[in-house]
């Protein structure tokens, strides 16, 4: 069916409006990080920079602990993502394929962990972590991030497993493949887009986590970007250049991750799997 010209025009304009709505703040933040301080706070905001400077990035990278925060965040988010994937893939497959008592009840209960607001468990967790010496360690953040990302990841991946045609698994079973081989050699390659989605979800959750990182970490050298960055921009006197340059750099890892993993989304791995 061919769309009429007014409908196409309306669709295009709506798309452009949404693009501007979402894109303009990013544009303003990124271009602002290259402006001179006077231009950043100018009475009439400039969408296209009239000045160019790298002073904010230089100050951020050489005059603050921002690079340390970045490394900590990359470590925490990377390790959290890896552990989440290693645990959630077999767990989701077990919930999808294996028959064991209480499977359905357990499947629903695990999501309860995701339903709790983090602030509710913050103080009890602090006490527990203090007793086992995990306060002020990146390991504490990894444990928290995995704990909160795992339930939703299992739910997501079980749906991906369910979307794989049953005939593929049956063919493998007839050839005598045990469940672990089916999972490793057949199912994981087929649900790669799902694993990529869960990986991105786990990475972004860990990358942006603030509440636990702000309380469980005590020393500056262990801070992650969200917490460390909120401190260096100041309270009574905000350094707007530092704020914009830090925000621009903070989105870089996520953008790079999307650029790398994004290809997995379009690969359409199940295409042609069943002939």
């Amino acid at each position: 069916m061919k769309r009429s010209l007014p409908a196409t025009l309306l669709l295009g304009l709506s798309g452009l409006f949404l693009l501007l709505l979402i894109g303009m703040p990013f544009w303003w933040v990124v271009t602002g990080s290259f402006k001179l301080p006077q231009e950043i706070i100018a009475r009439v905001p400039t969408m296209v920079p009239h000045s160019f400077t790298l002073q904010h990035f230089a100050k951020l990278l050489s005059g603050s602990d921002y690079p340390v925060y970045m490394i900590n965040s990359l470590l925490v988010a990377g390790i959290s993502t890896a552990i989440t994937l290693v645990l959630s893939v077999p767990a989701a497959y077990a919930f999808f394929r294996l028959a064991f008592p209480g499977r359905e009840a357990l499947y629903r209960i695990i999501l309860l962990a995701y339903a709790f607001p983090s602030i509710v468990v913050l103080i009890p967790l602090f006490g527990m972590f203090a007793r086992i010496g995990l306060i002020d360690t990146l390991a504490a953040l990894v444990i928290i991030n995995v704990t909160f990302a795992l339930p939703f990841s299992i739910w997501m991946l079980r749906s991906f497993f369910a979307s794989v045609p049953k005939e593929i698994e049956e063919a493998a079973l007839m050839d005598g493949a045990p469940p672990t081989v089916i999972l490793r050699r057949i199912m994981i390659p087929l649900i790669a887009p799902g694993i990529a989605s869960v990986g991105i979800f786990a990475f972004i959750s860990a990358w942006t986590e603030y509440v636990f990182a702000s309380v469980l970490i005590l020393s500056d050298a262990k801070r992650t970007v969200p917490v460390g960055f909120s401190g260096i921009i100041g309270q009574y006197q905000i350094d707007w250049g530092l704020l914009l340059s830090g925000a621009s750099l903070a989105v870089l890892p996520v953008v790079i991750l999307f650029a790398l993993v994004g290809r997995w989304f379009v690969s359409g791995l199940t295409e042609g799997a069943v002939k």
Binding site: L218, D220, Q235, Y236, Q237
Partner: protein
Amino acid sequence: MKKRILGLLAGASMLMPLSAFAAPVEITLWHMEQPPHRVARIQEIIDAFNTAHPDIVVKQEPQNWGEVYAKAPAALSAGAGPDMLFAIPDFTPILKNIGALTSVADFVAELDKKHDFVDSTVQSYSYDGGVWAVPLYNMAMSLWYRKSVLDGAGLKVPETWADWKAAAEKLSVDGTYGIGVPANKQLYTDQTIYSVMVNGGATEIYNEDGTLRFNNPQTVAALDYYAQLQKLSPPDSTSWTWGEAEACFVSKSCGMIMQFSVISSYDTQGGGDPADLGVAPIPHADGEKDHNTIAYANAVMLLSKDEAKRKASEEFIRYLLEPETYGKFLNMEPGLFMPVTADGAKAESFWGDPMATKYKAQIEQIIANSQNGRLFGFTSGRTFPSIAAISAQNVIAETLQSIVVGGKSAADAVAGGQDRMVEVSK
């Protein structure tokens, strides 16, 4: 006998290295001065102290005001808290109530004898028969303006509320706002409203018996007046914190603002002409005579129960308040942090800083304004534990919001504000 002597000598030789090289006392300082240049300045002072005191090692762990209210009690109860922790008056009752503090009255008296504290700074921490923190630096709200802007409009520096509103109206031309006052449910708004309240006779929010007296005609008049000023402010002022107000002034979008200091931003982004930067006391109500303001005496609490660590903490604070060191400490943010001691206010280390020299007139005015500084809930010895909740939940700012956003009358809003204070105090 010979064996015994040899044994003693052997024992002594084993003990000697232990006593000769006893491990230094390690103490941790938590503060909320997180911007990198402030952390660097505090580290310079710590390094100098550690070098001069080989038996003590101080280390700093900067924290964030946003989290420290929850983090400090949790850390202390888990045994992971600091030995020294910076504070503002409404933070101290929280730690006092969980038994984390012991009075430092004797130590403050010793320091007062030597350096002469500004009385109001000690009063903010004096209640329930003790002094709960050692004042370190002061911040007082002032009215900031550009002399050229007032002169250009044929205006004098406003003295009274009537002058102030007239000036704000006259300066509201050509897309600029005569004044920028916040109306966010946030601490900055609490501070600016109280700065107006204390200039309209609404200083006390408690009666002597601890009951609330927020709902009174002076408070209603102050909030009503503030709401009128807010109408002359930028429309986004309902979400402002300190930084947005400062940017509004420095970019010449706002003719006047109330702020602790704009010196640093004005110098780097606003032209930096000290002759054009004006600072004045907050105008008072037409029936009042004196100018008052809100002042935050920042202080340090001593938390360690260990005698050696406590003594080491005291030694560090003594060092910090010595005039040779104190100015360096205050100038971690030039023009923002004011001295709380008489000898600190004259210290060469304070006035010798290039920024302090350049903006000497403005800094002298801020110090003068701070002499009449008050803080809601910490006046006339009327300090009650509920002030921590009232302050933490920004009830004063919430009351203003119900006028400027909710459309209530000032009288209804203030009555509702008092009810809310009672509610959060339970």
